[in-house]
Amino acid sequence: MRFVDEYRDSEKARALAASIASLCEPGRHYKFMEVCGGHTHTIYKHGLEDYLPESISLVHGPGCPVCVIPMGRVDDAIHIASQPEVILTSFGDMMRVPGGRGSFFDAKAAGADIRMVYSPLDALKIAERNPSRRVVFMGIGFETTAPSTAMTVLRARAAGITNFSVFCNHVTILPAIKAILDSPDLRLDGFLGPGHVSTVIGCRPYSFITGDYGKPLVVAGFEPLDLLQAVHMLLTQLASGRSEVENQYGRVVPWEGNTKALEAIAKTMELRPYFEWRGLGFISHSALRLRDEYADFDAERIFDIPGGRVADPKACQCGEVLKGVLKPWECKVFGTACTPETPIGTCMVSSEGACAAYYNFGRFTRERVKEATR
């Protein structure tokens, strides 16, 4: 398949791995964070860690949108779903995320009308077909998904649809990266920048990471060779004492981003003063809400939302995993009490979550290695 097969060539991967090894300074250990959950997924699915020298650690970042939603927001959404005439629509990834009082699936089983959709456009279609119902779309995701929600709000306004609203939980990636850089728990040598967020925001906004914090960042694609090449580019920068924003994913990411998408977001949404992230706590100016001009599409203003804060279960260490302080298997409940079928924490729910990716693709490799070295 075009844009896929050529980026999975094993000979090229081996050659790149050899070149990566030659760039590593003897005795130095490198820690690179892949910000995006999609990268985490690729790393485990294709066993990329096995290609890298032991002196390179890949640390999983907070870029899984489902994983960073705090439990209180899940409860708020279920509260909305329990109101008269409401149909709550959501991406499938959200359905199993546990809130304080169960997941969307649990609420659906208890009688709430919660439906899985592939896009906010599908949710809008449900609203058109059900004029007597109130259709709410659970908007989640980074700058990649926000344009889709923004465009749907604009389409709803243009079409005069009045029974559609958005429960907006869209977050922005830069404040989360800054929070991680400011955290004393973690020392990083560089970042693999999120590919598709950058399609929208471009490469320029990362300059504070390379300038103020002196950490190189390479925007990377999602195929195995993309990630290996991006690691190579990070090491090349470090070897030459540079700290710059570079774009490995030029076939998709324009340097300036997608200005039309940014305009659609800016027209319909504005930054919240603060927002709670699972594992990272409250981060200022890190999430979006609908502007006053679009208040009639804002579920938070249409419905009376409890807005309670729910603490994570004590056993769950998603917070440490999201900050890259713990590897998934270091969590006390990983693979025992917490599995993709019965997740306790969000990182085990989405395929982009570090725990689910590791559970699905990595754990057997690790067990084999353990046995071989016993």
């Binding site: 398949m1 075009r2 844009f3 896929v4 995006c36 959950g37 999609g38 990268h39 997924h41 690729t42 699915k45 870029g63 899984c64 949108p65 489902v66 991406f91 499938g92 990834d93 959200m94 359905m95 199993r96 899985m116 592939y118 896009s119 906010p120 456009l121 599908d122 989640i140 995701g141 980074f142 990649t144 998904t145 344009p147 889709s148 465009m151 389409r155 590919g195 598709h196 399609t199 929208v200 694609g221 999602f222 195929e223 076939r251 998709v252 990411v253 324009p254 997608n258 039309k260 998408a261 659609a264 729910v349 989405s350 395929s351 982009e352 689910a356």
Partner: protein, 67 residues
């Protein structure tokens, strides 16, 4: 597109599954081949895409053109 059980997360759309624009429609919409001849109706309002172009579709919104 699959949900959390598949390769690719609809929320993130982070595996670059290429979709080829088959025909442009009114209202910024288009029919696109999302693989194996499967056609989905997507929005191309935010990109400059023509039939034959490969676009990166995210929650049925094309956010970039693959060059």
């Amino acid at each position: 597109m699959t949900g959390c059980t598949g390769d690719h997360c609809v929320t993130c759309s982070d595996e670059a599954v290429p979709a080829v624009v088959v025909r442009l429609l009114d209202g910024g919409l288009a029919d696109a081949d999302v693989g194996g001849g499967r056609i989905e109706r997507v929005s191309v309002a935010l990109v400059d895409a023509a039939p034959g172009d490969t676009v990166l579709v995210h929650a049925k919104e094309a956010i970039g053109v693959v060059t």
